[in-house]
Amino acid sequence: MSYEKEIKEKINGHEKLPERIEISVLKYFWQSNPLVGRKKDTIPRFLRKMGVFSNFSENELRIFAKFLHHRKFSPGETIFKQGELGVGFYLIFNGYTDIVVDSISPESNEGQGGNRHILTLEKGDYFGELALLQETSVRNGSAISRQGCELLGIFKPDVEELINTYPLIAAKLLQSVSLIVANRLFNLTREVQELKFKLSSYEKDANA
C-alpha cells in the first residue's frame, strides 16, 4: 500500500494522522518566490509615475533603479545642511521633506535671521539636482525629514558608473536633470525680469 493510500484510509477511518508540514510554511515559501514579490518592482514603478523620467523605457528604468540608493530618515533628521558640499540628487519615495534656508539679512554678515521654512516636498518630488551637475556643489538650503521619510538618492559616483556601463541611460538621466534645471532657470529669469520691472517702476515713482 502506498503512503498516500494509507493516509487516505486513516482520514476516512478518523484515525490519528502522521506529522505533516504546516501550510503556513508553504505559504511563506510561495510568497518568498521572486516572481511573486511585489516589493521588487516598486522602485521602477514609482519612477514610471514621475514625469521627469518619461523618456526612459521600462527596461532602462529597471536598470536605473539598481543604481539608486534607498535611504531611510527618522523624523526630524537632517538630510543635508545648507553650505555643505553635496554630491547627491534625491527623489522622495515616501513621506515629506522640509526645505529650510538660513535667511541671512543683507545688513549683517553673520546669518542671524534664523531658519526660514521655504516649502515642504512630498512623495514624487525631488531636490538637490544641482549637485549632479556642478563640479563642487554647495547646498543652497537644508533638507530635513518631516515625520520620517524614505528617499532614493543618486550620487556623482553612480552617475560616473552609469556613464561607463550604460551611457544611454546616463545620457537620459542627465537630460532629465538638465530639463529640471532649465525649467527652474526659466522661471527664475522670469521672476528676475518681473522684479527688475517692478524695481524700475518704483525708481520712476521715486524720481517723479
Binding site: P75, E84, T136, E160, T165
Partner: protein, 347 residues
C-alpha cells in the same frame, strides 16, 4: 521637536556601529595575514582588471558574462608565464647560494685592496666594521629567504587557489558588497563617505594600474636586455628591478646595486659591465622620460618632496612594504585633507 530625543541615540549607535565595524575589519586584516594577504592581493588584481568589465558591458554583454570573459582570459594568459616563471625563479634563487660566497670574496678582496691603497697613500686605516656588518646582513637575509622558500612556495600554492576566488567574487559581487557597506553607513556621513571612498578607490586603482604597467615595462626591458647580454640570473634581476621600481626615486637604485655587484664579481670591469650599466640607464630613462609622465604623475599629483617624505616615513614604520604603500596612503591623506579644507573654507 518631540522626536529628536529619540533620534539622537539611534544615529549615534549607527555611527558607532559603522566605525566599530571598520575598526574590527582593519584589525582582522592586520592580525590575520594568512587571510589578509590573499584578500589584499586579490583586491589589487581586481583594481587592475576591473576597468575591462564596463567596456564589455557597453558591448551588450551582461555583467556575469563580462566577468567570466575577463576572468578566464586573465587566468588563461597568466597561467603560462606563472608556470614557467615560478620554477625558474625557485631554481635561480637556490643557485644564488653558490654565487653569494664568490661575490662576498670579491667584495672583501677589493675592499682590502682599497684599504691597503688608502693606507699606503695617506697612512689612514679604513675601518671595515660596516663592510662586515653589511655582508653579514646580506648573508643572513639570503639564508632566511632560502630557508623560507618551501614555506613561501606552499603559501604561493595556497594563493593560486585563493586569489582567483577572491578576484572572481569581487568582480561578480563587488557592487553588492559596496551596496551592503553603504547600507550600513549612517545618514549623517553618507554623502561624504561615499564620495571620498569612491575617489580614493579610483585613485588607488589608477595608481596601481599605472605602477603595474610601469613595473612590467621596466622588468621586461631589463630581463630581455640581460638575456640578450647572456648575463646569469637575468630573470631574477629583471623581477627585482620591476619590484623595486614600485618604490619612487630610490627603488631603481635598489634594483640596480645587486646586478652591478654581481656583474663586477662575475664579469669584471669589461664590456659586459658597461653594457649592463647602459641597459639599466636606458630602462630607467624610458621609465622617467616616457612612462612616468604619461601614466603615474597624472594619477598622483603629489609634490616630489611629499613623495620623498612619505617614502621615508613608510620605510621607518613598515620597511620595504611601507615604502611601497606610502604613496597611495599619502594620496589618500591628501584627498581627505583637501575635503576637510573644502568643508572648512568653502562658504
Amino acid at each position: 521637536m518631540p522626536d529628536s530625543r529619540q533620534r539622537v541615540p539611534r544615529e549615534g549607535v549607527k555611527l558607532f556601529f559603522f566605525l566599530g565595524s571598520i575598526v574590527v575589519f582593519l584589525a582582522v586584516l592586520a592580525l590575520m595575514p594568512r587571510v589578509s594577504i590573499p584578500l589584499l592581493l586579490g583586491y589589487v588584481i581586481f583594481l587592475i582588471i576591473s576597468p575591462a568589465i564596463p567596456t564589455l558591458e557597453k558591448l551588450g554583454i551582461n555583467r556575469t558574462g563580462a566577468v567570466w570573459i575577463v576572468f578566464t582570459s586573465v587566468i588563461f594568459f597568466s597561467t603560462y608565464p606563472f608556470v614557467k616563471i615560478v620554477p625558474t625563479v625557485t631554481s635561480e634563487v637556490e643557485n644564488i647560494q653558490y654565487y653569494l660566497p664568490k661575490i662576498e670574496r670579491y667584495v672583501v678582496k677589493n675592499y682590502e685592496d682599497f684599504q691597503f691603497l688608502v693606507k699606503e697613500k695617506t697612512s689612514f686605516e679604513l675601518g671595515d666594521k660596516y663592510l662586515y656588518q653589511g655582508l653579514e646582513w646580506v648573508r643572513s637575509k639570503t639564508t632566511r629567504i632560502l630557508l623560507n622558500l618551501p614555506t613561501l612556495l606552499a603559501s604561493v600554492i595556497e594563493w593560486v587557489f585563493l586569489i582567483p576566488l577572491v578576484v572572481f567574487f569581487l568582480l561578480k559581487d563587488g557592487s553588492i558588497f559596496k551596496k551592503g557597506i553603504l547600507k550600513l553607513t549612517p545618514n549623517r556621513i553618507f554623502e561624504r563617505f561615499y564620495f571620498l571612498s569612491h575617489q580614493f578607490n579610483k585613485k588607488l586603482g589608477d595608481y596601481i594600474f599605472a605602477k603595474f604597467v610601469e613595473a612590467s615595462i621596466v622588468g621586461i626591458t631589463i630581463t630581455s636586455g640581460l638575456l640578450i647580454l647572456e648575463v646569469r640570473f637575468a630573470l631574477l634581476f629583471g623581477l627585482l628591478a620591476a619590484f623595486t621600481n614600485i618604490i619612487p626615486y630610490v627603488g631603481p637604485i635598489f634594483g640596480f646595486i645587486p646586478a652591478l655587484v654581481f656583474a663586477l664579481a662575475e664579469y669584471g670591469t669589461g664590456t659586459t659591465l658597461g653594457a649592463i650599466i647602459i641597459l639599466y640607464l636606458v630602462a630607467n630613462a624610458i621609465d622617467i622620460a616616457i612612462v612616468f609622465p604619461i601614466l603615474v604623475s597624472k594619477v598622483v599629483d603629489l609634490h616630489p618632496l611629499t613623495v620623498v617624505a612619505s617614502v621615508i616615513l613608510g620605510s621607518q614604520w613598515l620597511g620595504v612594504v611601507g615604502m611601497v604603500i606610502s604613496i597611495p596612503l599619502a594620496a589618500a591623506v591628501k584627498l581627505i585633507l583637501q575635503e576637510v579644507y573644502k568643508e572648512i573654507y568653502q562658504e
